[in-house]
């Protein structure tokens, strides 16, 4: 199978973006976009469809098995993990690779997701007291702890704008752990920020639920968090 890969490139934070197209042939339909990128970068004297030299394509990965969230990018316009996207999915052989749009580009397909980590600080996501374990709480905490902080949910969220007040799923998913594990009297700080930074801004489109590469049960977590934080139905 011959693939045509169109990559949106940008040398550094301030450079002008440009498109570059390369051809790649393989019969391995199981090959992931992550392996494709690694292979392209290891190809000596790689040239694009205009015969120009292709410099190293900057992208990030770590685990290569959808456990770390590093390799999130827009693949044929859809935010997803490069390690979780197989070439066999592209029946027409056309693949477009772009960086996530809602974050500043650092280089090529690498974006600066610092805002996500800053937001977690801003909502005060940590336990001030010892965790309290309940059976239901364990399940919620497990699901909430699975968040990869990849940013795919923010990319599709109609309400999330970086730097603005609504923090979206990348904050409310991990909040589920702390909300489920803190005794009622110790939840005050995070409850306040939850209402301000999450509940008030969420339009409940749930586009995050459908895009999450970890397939976290986001809707359930949202309902649960809101019950605890907004409607004060504290978990027993």
């Amino acid at each position: 199978m011959n693939y045509t890969i169109d990559i949106l490139r940008q040398e550094n934070r301030v450079a002008q973006p440009y498109r570059q197209t390369v051809h790649f042939a393989t019969d391995d339909a199981e090959m992931t976009v992550a392996t494709l990128l690694k292979t392209l970068n290891a190809t000596p004297d790689l040239t694009d469809t205009d015969g120009k030299a292709v410099s190293e394509i900057e992208w990030e990965c770590s685990c290569l098995q959808k456990k770390c969230g590093a390799c999130a990018m827009r693949i044929n316009k859809k935010p997803q993990l490069a390690c979780d996207t197989k070439l066999g999915e592209f029946k027409d052989g056309k693949i477009s690779l772009e960086p996530l749009k809602k974050f500043p580009v650092i280089a090529d397909l690498i974006v600066d997701r610092s805002v996500m980590f800053e937001n977690l600080k801003n909502i005060g996501l940590w336990l001030e007291k010892e965790a309290r374990h309940t059976k239901k709480g364990e399940d919620v905490a497990y699901e909430a702890s699975r968040c990869l902080q990849c940013g795919c949910c923010l990319e599709v969220c109609p309400n999330f704008i970086p730097g603005e007040d609504f923090y979206s799923a990348a904050s409310f998913v991990p909040s589920g752990r702390v909300l489920s594990e803190l005794p009622k009297k110790d939840k005050a700080d995070i409850l306040n920020s939850y209402v301000d930074k999450i509940y008030k801004g969420c339009g409940k489109s749930l586009s995050c639920r459908d895009i999450c590469p970890a397939q976290i049960d986001i809707e359930h977590l949202l309902v649960n968090n809101n019950a605890v934080a907004v409607w004060k139905r504290f978990l027993k």
């Binding site: 770590s62 685990c63 590093a70 390690c83 280089a107 336990l127 965790a131 497990y142 902080q149 752990r177």
Partner: protein, 528 residues
């Protein structure tokens, strides 16, 4: 007082937290955010003799199993520290909100390799991710308080050394190259050396081995490099080996090979006591042996079809999903094909019981350090070793951090050229190492590898490439030098264990362009 931690996986997080809890500030430097660290990939669990299963488990047994699993090559004092602190560590993780399963006795534990009692606390097959999440949240608290300063997206450049003492560390922004010098003592927690076997391990691509190679070139001693763990149950997927957690066997999964067309549960026949849960070195070697037989097929299968549905749902759902996703086989319904793959490096930076290296004010913890696991690591001891080791390294750094000399000014802060190992050379080195350091090794193949690696050391290479080659050579030469079979180092030409000559630690150092190999005695056990 200034302490710098290089690496923000579990060992680095643990070190930072230990310091912050004592009100001591630190810098936490990492190539990427902690969410991207290899620690999140750890699956099966963390060991501690909590004795919540009514089996009268004890710290003494955890200690004995760890030493035996490591074929008596580990530092007994260090292992005692590890095992005796394990219950308190796991209890603390529980308080930090790791969603371990509980019953009326406390945290539920599962069986794991090389241990006769249920000693492994777990969260399904995602234990590493759950631990990392809880520690990230806890570290965040101290970031906001200003006690922990993160430097994400930075790479380690080199140590600042002065007369055999570590005075600080040079780091650089991965993207702009902007240099920073952080004065003070340094804790290295940079992970294992997966990059030496590029694309052939279960590990993270971030663990290139370059930090360890640089430290080696700067005079830091390494130890036991020949001990590379092949995990028995892995599957090749695009770009890497996918781990099938030992939890699969802990919960009842069985290994078989077809012999004359019929399933042969060889581990159960050969090892009636621990069966499929023998230590990993033993299982992997048996898999090599049975698949080499004329009457057996060449593929081993892991049969999980007998596991109770409730167990699947509550303890292994993530593992089941992973098999369906990556190999399109539902392990509830049919056995999955597995083979051994490189998973862990028992060797690394040589540290003593207090995680001190041979360089003053330089410490190391986690997989990059050689400690606790001897010749073969038991499953469930790596998460424990990372957390406990990070803590001990931080405590040792604290003890020394009051010394005046650490406050000395660090002289320079200049941008230097950055070199990386070319993908082509990385691939060649990996191929040579993989070929010469399989589960069953021999002198001829390793000697040939040494020659090949030496031949690759040409003047046109950049500094990073030379350093990686020296590290690869150090590993091969350590393996050649150990003329016995022990744990993960099994030789067809020296099939016996030789305690008289080799119950010693391999030590390798780099001086004046030469790799120097020695064997060092293992410290005597102090009386309790």
């Amino acid at each position: 007082m200034s302490i710098n931690i290089i690496g923000a996986g579990l060992a680095g997080l643990s070190a930072a937290l230990t310091l912050a809890e004592q009100n001591i500030p630190c810098n936490l430097v990492s190539y990427a955010q902690s969410e991207r660290s290899q620690s999140v990939m750890a699956e099966g669990g963390i060991n501690a003799a909590l004795d919540t299963s009514g089996e009268q488990d004890t710290v003494e047994e955890h200690y004995a199993d760890t030493l035996k699993g490591g074929v008596y090559l580990a530092d007994e004092n260090a292992v005692w520290g590890l095992c005796s602190h394990a219950p308190e560590i796991v209890t603390k993780l529980d308080r930090l909100g790791v969603p371990f399963s509980h019953n009326d006795r406390g945290i539920v534990q599962r069986y794991f390799g090389g241990q006769k009692k249920k000693r492994t606390a777990y969260v399904k097959a995602s234990t590493g991710k759950m631990l990392v999440t809880a520690l990230i949240d806890e570290v965040r608290k101290y970031e906001v308080k200003g006690l922990i300063t993160r430097y994400p997206r930075h790479r380690f450049v080199q140590l600042v050394l002065d007369d055999g003492t570590c005075k600080g560390v040079r780091i650089a922004d991965r993207f702009t190259g902007e240099p920073t010098v952080l004065p003070g003592s340094v804790i290295i927690a940079c992970g294992g050396m997966a990059g030496l076997f590029d694309g052939m391990t279960t590990g993270s691509t971030h663990n290139t081995s370059d930090a360890v190679a640089t430290l080696f070139s700067q005079g830091v001693e390494l130890s036991n490099l020949e001990f590379v763990q092949y995990h028995p149950t892995t599957i090749g997927i695009s770009g890497k080996r996918l781990l099938i957690s030992e939890a699969a066997r802990g919960e009842g999964g069985r290994l078989f090979v077809r012999r004359n067309g019929e399933p042969w549960y060889f581990m159960e026949e050969k090892y009636p006591e621990l069966k499929n849960l023998m230590p990993r070195d033993v299982v992997s070697a048996e898999m090599v042996a049975v698949t080499a037989r004329d009457d057996c097929e060449t593929q081993v299968y892991l049969d999980m079809t007998g596991i109770d549905k409730k167990v699947w749902k509550s303890r292994l759902s993530d593992l089941g999903d992973q098999c369906i996703h990556y190999i399109a086989v539902d392990p509830i319904k049919e056995p999955i094909p597995v083979s051994p793959g490189i998973h862990y490096f028992m060797g690394g930076i040589r540290v003593d019981e207090k995680h001190r290296t041979n360089i003053d004010d330089l410490f190391a913890a986690g997989e990059c350090a050689c400690q606790y696991h001897g010749a073969n690591r038991l499953g469930g001891n790596s998460l424990l070793g990372a957390i406990y080791g990070g803590r001990v390294a931080a405590q040792s750094a604290m003890e020394k951090a009051g010394d005046e000399h650490i406050k000395a000014e660090v002289p320079y802060q200049t941008k230097t050229d950055h070199y990386e190992v070319s993908p082509a050379l990385a691939e060649r080195i990996s191929a040579v190492l993989y070929r010469s350091l399989p589960i069953m090794r021999n002198e001829a193949d390793m000697a040939a590898a040494q020659q090949e690696l030496n031949a690759m050391l040409t003047p046109d290479l950049n500094e990073a490439e030379k350093r990686r080659l020296y590290l690869a050579l150090a590993m091969v030469r350590s393996a050649i030098n150990r003329k016995e079979s022990r744990g993960a180092h099994k030789r067809t030409d020296y099939p016996e264990r030789d305690d008289t000559n080799y119950r010693k630690q391999s030590v390798v150092s780099f001086k004046d362009g030469q790799i120097i190999l020695t064997l060092s005695d293992i410290p005597e056990r102090r009386t309790k």
